[in-house]
Symmetry: C2
């Protein structure tokens, strides 16, 4: 059974390293994940930041297998498994469960828009039934500005009522503070784990009973995010929140996923990290220089250079 | 080489039949495609109406193989191959080219929103280079209300300049008459095939140099759509247009994809046709009855019952 305490704190939707031919590079991914774990950050491979939907199912399965075969702990992993296709979602979810992953982060099918709650309920329900494993823990993934398929409170409640225990939590990446507050108030008392998808709302969320934070920025600022998840009741919490918010604002001056990869490329002196798959576009030289100048000197990537070179 | 005349007139984004366990049913698909071809309608399997993005790549490859193995002419086929993942799009596109399909209908990668023209150009460009086959003909698929990733005239021109011959046309499903007019005026003179995605704009489009029409309704009203593609200069063209528009309005009183499948179920007395994959939801009994009552008595599905029972 997954350890319920494993999935708390800062969790990174880990960026996916590509070789020059745009194929995923499992060895590099393992090294980054090892560094993230060592600095206390959990792993959510195959999130939006991971360019997961730019990968085939086969590529994702191979990467997940590589992480587990490298000895990284599945109980600290929350791989994204939600695809447009029912059969793809089932295949990825089954593999994650078989590996003993703590849970899966599941987008709704996102091609059709204006779908009904009945249709979304049927989607999640089919996946749960086809996975057919009591160990499955699903964390719903609400990111309407990208998926364009919001998950309504009514849908969440219906899923939670039908599959208590299995439907275990949500990543709310809407950035909508009211929605986050409402999810916390309505579902956290039932043991449902609510994770803001942005650390700008982290202190508020922790005060409301959040489980932690799953944010792109946890790839490069996970230590600080994790510290606030842990120490939100301490007097310096507001200052920590301000620092997280300021850091995020720096990254958000650039396209976020390429900027996070460029930050890792910069810290590790390994340009390959900057590679993205189309339709994303890597930062150009001018953007790279501006980003490097804007990053705080004490950026908590210390140690990454050594680890990735190992 | 594909026959340039093969891809004109009415083309149906063929609905995908499912068995009770939601697996695709190749035998049924072959029968529907045979009937469509016999009534003069071309085939665009794996379009939006086909629930293509609710299928895995493996399921799509198996269905395409089944169509070709059944002896249906690839030169009348325009399979949809555009996925979120670069590698998925390449795999499907290669198979379509290898089978000698007339072309492929290619969505842009549609998970990320607000992507740049540079990123979309790189996506299409990578696919073309990886397909690596001079026989490839790409028909761009502009359906911004669903994909949320529009294809701008600037992007189209850039692709057409870089890959003349390969970038062969577009399906404009925006429903925006101004956009359609502008595409026709700007690109049709270069031999670029423009297909409206809705037959409500068909007469206007044919007068402007369109190649035909790729519409969901061509699954069940292909004969009439094809007739206007052919006879748009005849005096009864306006009346034909009005009839197409009225038919579409009848179907659009219901969720369109389930309604088209229910129409086929009704005409063939085979309820299995009504099955959809989540997140779509089949019409309920009341909707089915209302649809049956609303359909014109002379619906041009004559012959389908016999063909599908064969």
């Amino acid at each position: 059974m997954p350890d319920a305490t494993a999935l708390t704190g800062a969790i990174a939707p880990v960026v996916t390293p590509f070789r020059a031919d745009l194929s995923p590079d499992p060895a590099r991914l393992v090294r980054l994940c090892r560094w993230l774990l060592a600095s206390g950050t959990g792993l959510a491979p195959f999130g939006t930041t991971s360019e997961a939907n730019s990968l085939s199912v086969g590529e994702k399965l191979a990467l997940l297998d590589a992480l587990v075969e490298a000895g990284l702990p599945p109980q600290r992993m929350l791989p994204g498994t939600g695809c447009c296709s029912l059969t793809d979602t089932v295949e990825l979810t089954r593999r994650a469960v078989r590996h003993g992953c703590a849970g899966v982060l599941m987008l709704p099918p996102f091609y059709y828009k204006a779908v009904t709650d009945d249709g979304l309920y049927a989607s999640y329900s089919e996946v749960i039934q086809r996975a057919g494993d009591a160990r499955l823990r699903i964390y719903l993934y609400h990111i309407p500005q990208v998926s364009q398929v919001p998950l309504s409170p009514t849908l969440i409640e219906r899923l939670l009522d039908a599959y208590p225990g299995t439907v275990a939590g949500i990543k709310d990446s809407s950035g909508d503070a009211d929605n986050l507050r409402s999810l916390l108030a309505r579902f956290a008392p039932r043991g449902f784990a609510v994770f803001p998808g942005t650390e700008t709302l982290l202190l508020m969320a922790m005060r409301g009973g959040a489980a932690g934070c799953i944010s792109a920025q946890a790839n490069i600022n996970g230590t600080a995010i994790g510290a606030l998840c842990r120490d939100w009741q301490r007097p310096d919490a507001e200052a920590r929140q301000s620092a997280l918010t300021a850091f995020r604002a720096t990254i958000q001056k650039f396209p976020v996923i390429p900027a996070i990869k460029a930050t890792i490329a910069c810290s590790t002196h390994d340009d390959g990290w900057a590679t993205v798959r189309p339709p994303l576009v890597a930062l150009d030289a001018g953007q790279r220089a501006a980003l490097a100048a804007a990053l705080p000197a004490d950026l908590a990537l210390s140690g990454l250079e050594a680890v990735v070179a190992a």
